[in-house]
Symmetry: C3
Subunit: 430 residues, 3 copies
């Protein structure tokens, strides 16, 4: 399957979501969940403002209809309708006339990137503000301005969605992505699009593990999910937060707090054998929702799968994180890489050599060609020897792939052939 196959479709889905003004609550969030739910079975949860969730409280719901700053001539010099990043997310409603000097403390720009609109939020500190390109700011003349933010903060709900795909065993894989950013394409519409594709592909593929996709607002969403789904959290054997998976940068994987969980080793293995640029880094307690999943009271085996890392690229949290910044091919590569990770998780197990004294004679079982095996065949035959040698009950197939420096799928093929020949069995089967 060529990596770009589903890239254009994912990009188109991102484009369809891009104009919506999302936040951690409100209509934009619900609209986004609704569109995801058109493609996969999505259970929606609605938690009322004021509810206690762990150490936090669900905030008031925020909605916005319009916002602008008009100059004396009545022209919108800042216009929410032109770009929803122009308003500080969760701004209080405002209707006032004021001088530029009075307005100035409420204007946010990026002087070092003067053409870009920054993305700012103020969820828990009641305030209001506008974001704009620094080059636009400097054009503003002294004079009186009309300021309007037609927003509303009121009791409502915090919404999130779950898509659960049952497997044949109760172990769960958690795939989490946040859905609270407005017009930002890589962060995090790319994560939504790739998660959605992954869920669709899993729906049409038999799988052993149970997959739980959660589409949540950042931080407060994962806090809420952890508060209300502690049983599911206990069943998480592997997990990934997906974010910024659509840009052209190399992969970056941030390990779970455990550092050596199966998910960490699976992703590292897949990236190592991918031939693609990548970097694997240790856990640190800031970033995205892995912060919550990896808090010490949960300590779930959840890593964070990214391309360019939040906070380290110039387009991050600006209007330059747009539909040009995410690429169909990059989205496709991310999807296929995650699919290989799924393959590892599905097939990872520990086997037991049933003829552990000496090497069993593979030739008489048709497993060994000897004279004139092809190079590809040769890797497979080495895999047979590695699996036999290491399957003493203490090394999993992923361990063996690492020791042998062979791709996991070659190790799995060898394991399957040895099971078929009666030389190997699952160490956990009776």
């Amino acid at each position: 399957m060529a990596p770009e196959t589903r890239g254009p479709a994912m990009h188109a889905f991102i484009a369809s979501l891009y104009p919506i003004c999302r936040s951690i609550t409100g209509d934009g969030l619900r609209e986004t969940l609704g569109r995801i739910g058109k493609h996969i079975p999505l259970t929606l949860y609605h938690v009322q403002s004021g509810k206690s969730v762990l150490d936090w409280t669900v905030p008031l719901e925020w909605n916005i209809r319009d916002a602008y700053v008009k100059n004396a001539a009545g022209e919108r010099v800042i216009d929410f309708r032109a770009h929803n990043l122009h308003v500080v997310n969760y701004s209080l409603p405002v209707r006032a006339k004021m001088t530029l000097a009075e307005l100035r403390p409420h204007l946010y720009t990026l002087p070092d990137q003067p053409d870009l609109i920054p993305y700012r939020t103020s969820y828990y500190t009641p305030t209001w503000g506008f974001c704009l390109a620094h080059n636009e700011l400097v054009k503003l003349q002294e004079g009186e301005y009309e300021v309007c933010i037609d927003s509303m903060l009121a009791p409502g709900t915090l919404d999130y969605g779950e898509c659960v795909l049952d497997g044949t065993c109760p172990d769960e894989v958690l795939i989490s992505c946040h859905v609270c950013h407005p017009s930002l394409a890589d962060d995090n519409l790319s994560g939504i699009a790739v998660a959605l594709e992954l869920a669709q592909r899993l729906q049409s593929t038999p799988h052993r593990l149970k997959y739980r996709f959660v589409f949540i607002p950042g931080t407060i969403g994962s806090i809420t999910w952890l508060a209300y789904h502690q049983d599911a959290a206990q069943r998480v054997k592997h997990g990934l937060v997906l974010t910024c998976v659509g840009d052209a940068g190399g992969f970056r994987y941030k390990r779970s707090r455990r550092g050596n969980a199966t998910i960490d080793r699976a992703v590292e293995h897949v990236l190592k054998h991918s031939g693609l640029a990548h970097q694997v880094i240790d856990f640190f307690p800031y970033g995205y929702d892995e912060r919550q999943y990896c808090s010490p009271g949960f300590n779930l085996p959840v890593g964070c799968f990214m391309r360019s890392q939040h906070g380290t690229f110039p387009e991050y949290h600006t209007s330059a994180d747009n539909l040009d910044f995410v690429r169909p091919q990059a989205l496709g590569e991310s999807l296929e890489t995650l699919w290989r990770v799924v393959h590892v998780l599905e097939n990872e197990r520990t086997m037991l050599n049933l003829a552990p004294q000496g090497e069993p004679q593979l030739g008489k079982r048709g497993l060994y060609e000897g004279l004139g095996a092809s190079a590809d065949r040769r890797g497979y035959e080495l895999a047979l020897l590695w699996v036999l040698n290491q399957s003493d009950g203490t090394h999993s197939l992923l361990d063996i792939a690492g020791q042998a420096e062979l791709p996991f799928d070659v190790i799995v093929r060898a394991s399957d052939a040895l099971v078929w020949a009666g030389l190997l069995k699952d160490a956990n089967s009776p």
Copy 2:
């Protein structure tokens, strides 16, 4: 003792064995064992064809008197009497006339090394064939050829020899080399010659450990030995497979599957302090008989001691692995290096400092020169301090040599002096 002392004698022994057509069974194998047995006490074992050994079956015995391909003029264009590599080892008997086109699938060459005859075997797949230089193949004219392989596959025996040299304690050292290759000098006549010299030297030297030298056909031989000598296998505390120890390449040591066995650390220590080029690599489950000794049902602490590694040098398994390829000096160096490994194994132990509070006063015991010690003496005095400091029952002398970065023999001399002074005792003695 100069490293080259015994080199010429070993080279001469290799030369005497070189013409014999050995295989995993048959007269050539027996003749080889007989010649080894002229120098050291060798117990011969004969296991009948058809016997089950672990997962394998002892094959029919193979012998060969002659083989050739004659052209229409009656000239031998391929002649076993010129080089025993010309026949695929274990070839079925053949007497036939055929065209070049019919013969062609039975001819093996190395197009990339067109002057060399390859070495090919087919022990377990019944077939026949000839090996020749690619430059000779291209000279063959169309026409009818007379093909003769005067070989015989019949019930007989698989033979191997053991030389056991008792020590004063029951722990065993296994030295294993294969004896099944026809006219190939480095692989493995060099191993045979060095093992033989080592056994002879041990016969004339008091030693603590029991040494078991096994001269066996590759794979099926070690399988058979493991099947019939499980008690001895349990007593193996250290072991080495010797192969390709006569060429001019640097040393390469392949660790046992355990990775950190005393033998692994002993060889690594000796090589590190040898001043000779060397490389130490991790275990992998192909190569020589270490594959069998290190199968998970045995997991013996057996490494593989080589110079050039099988499969990685152009002369490997070709007619270029001849008497010029093995060098007296290299054989001598291999022997002396192994002798130093024997010295480590013989002297490795864990001691206990009997005056562990503070440093004992070495000066009053004549162990410390203070003013004006020579550089050599200085290393020895450091060794005294290291042995005292680390001998708390958890660090062996080899451990201490590693920490101190001093040669093992200096550590042993220091340990002996401290025992003599009453400051140290063997941690395991009462």
Copy 3:
């Protein structure tokens, strides 16, 4: 506090001690202890010659009034009054006339450093000798010389001093420096001066731990201290030997025998964040009194804190280790660096996150600024997250500082703030 603040005072103290002819016993040693005792409360111990201490015996006390070699003209060509290094420390008394040839075996020089007087001792081998510049030796004419060493070896005492500063908990910090070297400034008057300043500063600062400063002759002094203070030795939780801390070289810290004791990690952390040149090396069983503290029967967590390492710089144990070789600024840096180590030891502890599920909401507690935190503030906010994430009872604050790659004091500030906010408690408190 600027690092050089106390440098000049320390240098002046060194200068006042420099002329005294110290040894491992005798008046010079007592005079030195007396001067230290003028500044801090010092308990003096006097152990009689002949007493057994561990494996050693307290030697006879040595004192010297004068020593010289006069030529035929009656001129002092070697004069103890000019430099006390001219006499081999612990020389037997001598009064004799002899030729240059007879005198020659008793003369020690450094041919490679011909202007310097070497420092030589012979505590336990009865002998006598003179040390002089090689350039002076070569000027000596044949002829008769008058040799006088007006020394005395007689029953007396070995003296040492202890300054104990109680804390609020019984755990002890041992600071040890030797006081037995004559006119050598870096080795070890610098250690004495810095230890004295550290003790004075601790006297005026509240502290949790108990500090025990020991001023002892090298080797026999620490042997004696260990023999007579085994209870105190058992209470040592952290310890440092101070030596050569006044020269202009970078820091060198030699780990305790344990290798990973808190003191090792504390010093390494402080040096890493100091911005100063430094190197951390593993323990080895020679050097200064850490040899005794780290003997296996005690194995105390005591490292050795140095600038230039004994034996590795050309001025070591020569007349060039003089008052120019030690620098006020270097002494000040050493003091301040050790003060930071004290800060780590005082504040090192393991905390417990009281809201371990998810991140607690820091904003509502005024701990998180969000929009527009300064760079300094940002490091502090990261520290809050690290402390919360890692405080599961298995990671100490020093562990967390290492993982976060943040300075320990930022971690401590974060920990204090979280305790204040009720989110964290000491893991060992009820």
